[in-house]
């Protein structure tokens, strides 16, 4: 049995020795934890590349690992009393060491019983093996760190077996995809909705797809400075030369053929609007467009097509409104190019060539029911569509293979000035519509036939009043009860005329 001071020193030395070993063990554990976190950042960098994982994030990972390790190490520092308990459990000494240490350090030493206990504990501690009780082992965090190290090595090998250059820009997934599936051909193909079935023409086959053109446009916008509208022709546009039919040049109107498909729809609506304008100008029956029953079917197709191409609709609207505003600002027969194919239409009644040509084109492309144009045969419309770049389309084939116009330049990347011009044009357009609405007079053309009579009042949004005769005739449908009366009424009118 040791004396009191010797037993106290022995006991304390053993406990502190055990504590040192425990601190080393915890430090090793927390260092491995910190390194595992940092290696996680390296692994993420190797997997994602600098494009998705900037190098500053790697620094954050390292800092987070060090912080976590230090904080955890500081929190897990054991007290000597705890170490004594641990030694008791490992040595199976029935808490004698911990009790003796407690009454040695943390109490009033407990009297003679505690002194005896310290002597016993010192004897036990002298016979105990601290190294065996508290061995230095690879902590669990070490396995995690090793796993991260293996992952890093694997990523490194995979990455630089695919790409010899030491570049971390590209993500590993993209590299693997390229290696396994080849270069990415149409990354945006899946984003586009399939277009409704339309008859294929040679022009359309030759034309680049919308996705390709959009890709080309995106590449151009990324790599090249913005070019003036007239110089916005891309090589892809030049390749689509068969589609480059002449269009009436409008001052200040840019041409972007990358929106060829979009311009199909654009031209269709354009024709519709132009037809309305033309109908306003040419009120005579000879200037009328196609029959309304022929125009209703293309309208339905256009609506379905519009719904399917909602993603493009906004840009198309912008382009359309821009072009309309430009056209409305210009005199109708002014500086516009005469059409190449001067196929005369039935509605050609004025002597002004350009105006007549434009009227033909627009009449052929418009919703003829609204344009109130007669004689716009589909065949004629097709020829006009091909020959005139104004955008006149056959109503049955909306916008296929049409060359783009300047309206296509409104692809969302327009600058502020162009946007301002569009807004100004929209304001003028609205003003124009308002004025036009005021000028509407409700003139009705009635064709009387021997077999069947029909009243066509496509421009009249209001009911036509015949109050002097005591009846009201609807624009769209004449009630059956009034048909005989109307027939006789207009017969009288014609007789008078």
């Amino acid at each position: 049995m040791l004396d009191s001071s010797a037993s106290e020193n022995r006991l304390e030395a053993v406990v502190l020795n055990g504590r040192r070993r425990l601190l080393v063990q915890t430090a090793m554990r927390d260092a491995l934890l910190a390194s595992a976190i940092a290696m996680g950042g390296v692994a993420a960098l190797l997997a994602l590349g600098t494009g998705y994982f900037p190098p500053v994030l790697l620094g954050l990972f390292v800092a987070a690992g060090i912080t976590a390790g230090v904080l955890r190490w500081r929190r897990s520092q054991p007290r000597p009393y705890d170490v004594a308990q641990l030694l008791d459990r490992r040595w199976q000494t029935d808490d004698q060491v911990s009790t003796a240490y407690y009454f040695l350090k943390e109490s009033d030493k407990g009297g003679p019983i505690a002194e005896q206990q310290r002597a016993r504990a010192a004897t036990l501690a002298a016979s105990g093996d601290v190294v065996a009780a508290l061995p230095l082992r690879l902590p669990h965090a070490g396995w995690g760190a090793l796993a991260m190290l293996a992952l890093i090595a694997l990523l490194f090998v995979v990455r630089y077996s695919l790409q010899p250059a030491l570049s971390l820009e590209q993500p590993l997934a993209a590299m693997l995809k390229e290696a396994l599936l080849g270069p990415d051909e149409q990354p945006n193909a899946g984003l586009l909705q399939p277009e409704p079935a339309r008859p294929q023409t040679g022009d359309e086959e030759a034309a680049p797809s919308l996705s390709e053109e959009a890709e080309t446009r995106d590449a151009e916008t990324r790599t090249e400075p913005p070019a003036p509208p007239d110089a916005a022709q891309t090589p892809a546009d030049q390749d689509a030369e068969p589609l480059n039919v002449e269009i009436p040049e409008v001052e200040g109107l840019s041409v972007d053929e990358s929106y060829g498909d979009e311009m199909d729809y654009n031209s269709l609506v354009d024709g519709e609007q132009q037809g309305q304008q033309q109908g306003e100008k040419h009120d005579s029956p000879s200037d009328a467009g196609t029959p309304s029953d022929q125009a209703s079917a293309p309208n339905q197709e256009n609506e379905a097509w519009n719904q399917e191409n909602d993603s493009l609709l906004d840009r198309l609207k912008d382009a359309f409104e821009n072009m309309l505003s430009k056209l409305n600002m210009e005199p109708q027969g002014g500086s516009q190019q005469p059409s190449e194919s001067e196929s005369p239409s039935d509605g050609e009644s004025t002597g002004e060539k350009a105006e007549a040509a434009e009227g033909q084109a627009q009449g052929g492309a418009s919703d003829a029911g609204e344009a109130q144009m007669e004689g716009g045969e589909p065949g004629e419309a097709s020829s006009q569509q091909v020959s005139q770049g104004e955008g006149g389309n056959n109503s049955d084939q909306p916008g296929e293979g049409q060359p783009s116009s300047a309206a296509g330049g409104n692809d969302g990347s327009k600058d502020a000035a162009e946007q301002a011009a569009i807004e100004e044009a929209m304001g003028k357009l609205e003003e124009l519509y308002s004025r036009r609405a005021e000028e509407m007079k409700g003139e009705v053309m009635i064709e009387t036939e021997t077999a069947q009579q029909s009243a066509r009042t496509p421009y009249q949004p209001q009911d036509s009043g015949h109050q002097d005769l005591g009846g009201t005739v609807s624009r769209d449908a004449i009630p059956l009860a009034y048909q005989a009366y109307i027939k006789s009424y207009f017969e009288n009118l014609r007789t008078k005329n």
């Binding site: 308990q85 808490d95 911990s98 009790t99 407690y102 009454f103 505690a114 206990q117």
Partner: protein, 316 residues
């Protein structure tokens, strides 16, 4: 203590846990409740213990018509030589160092209460006079778990007065061979007095000085709290099967018994191992199981063992 155990071993075969429990209660100053079928040597144990320690011994067979005065004593009218008469307190059988209350659950609650009050207060009041019971005072009550008809089970408040509840089980085959051989032998073992009353009191004082480290004390408290289903740190088994958990008296009993147990093993400190060994006998009569436990056939020992097995040595 080992000498006492050896002397008892001359008569009692096996039942080491019972012997140690009774000795622990004696040194700790508590009482024990023995539960077991008749014929297992409960009375013999206490008689042998009294002989080995040279202590007064009394045995009370509890019956339904037993009255408190039959246990505590009564005032007797005495006539002295001068012819004058006076009342004198005649002590009952409770005035002994070792009291065997055999089949305590057969007495009425009134009688039980009289004994239990004496156990707790260590005094007996008769009229206006209070009589102290001499230390050491150990009541060893027995219960027969089989014949429950016509019995008055002890209420929980009174069960709490017992330091330990010890289950006396059947002896093993080897132990029974020894028991039968000793019975057939003409030479009955003679028990020597190895410890006197003063030495027992010294042992009690020594036990009170046994060191209890904070982490050991906390373990006892954590275990008691874990048996209380309403407590935040209650064990899931306790929440499921226990209706009422142990009182703080349970923690006191654990530490008290732990000290004696450490002393019996020659240590000067209580270890967590001591507490783990004492958790079942010290707490099994202090918890009340709920209906689910009874329906599933769970016993207090099973519930406590389940809690004990999942109780870590140190607080998380």
């Amino acid at each position: 203590m080992q000498l006492v155990r050896d002397e008892i071993g001359k008569v009692i075969v096996g039942h080491d846990n019972v012997v140690e429990g009774v000795l622990t209660a004696l040194v700790a100053g508590g009482h024990v409740l023995l539960e077991g079928v008749p014929g297992l040597g409960k009375t013999t144990l206490l008689r042998t213990l009294s002989r080995a320690m040279h202590l007064d011994y009394s045995r009370i067979q509890f019956t339904p018509d037993l009255m408190p005065a039959d246990i505590l004593g009564s005032m007797m009218m005495e006539t002295d030589g001068a012819g004058s008469k006076q009342l004198r307190f005649q002590p009952g059988p409770v005035f002994a160092h070792l009291v065997l209350a055999d089949e305590i659950n057969r007495a009425t609650p009134r009688t039980q209460s009289a004994l239990l009050e004496a156990m707790q207060e260590r005094t007996v009041t008769s009229g206006t006079t209070t009589h102290s019971l001499e230390d050491p005072f150990l009541v060893m009550a027995t219960q027969n778990p089989l014949e429950m008809e016509g019995t008055y089970p002890l209420p929980e408040a009174q069960l709490d007065r017992f330091l330990q509840k010890i289950i006396v089980g059947y002896p093993t085959q080897e132990e029974m061979v020894t028991i039968v051989d000793r019975t057939m032998s003409a030479d009955q073992p003679k028990v020597e007095q190895v410890v006197n009353r003063e030495q027992i009191l010294d042992m009690r004082r020594a036990a009170q000085q046994v060191l209890v480290a904070p982490h050991v004390r906390d373990y006892a408290i954590r275990f008691v709290l874990a048996t209380q289903p309403e407590h935040a740190t209650a064990h899931t088994v306790a929440k499921k099967y226990i209706r009422y958990g142990s009182s703080p008296r349970g923690a006191q009993a654990l530490v008290q018994c732990g000290r004696v147990r450490a002393l019996i093993r020659g240590r000067l400190n209580v270890s967590i191992g001591d507490l783990r060994a004492l958790c079942t006998p010290a707490l099994r009569h202090r918890i009340i199981l709920n209906f689910d436990a009874h329906a599933e056939g769970k016993t207090s020992d099973q519930v406590l063992t389940a809690i004990l097995d999942s109780m870590p040595d140190t607080e998380a």
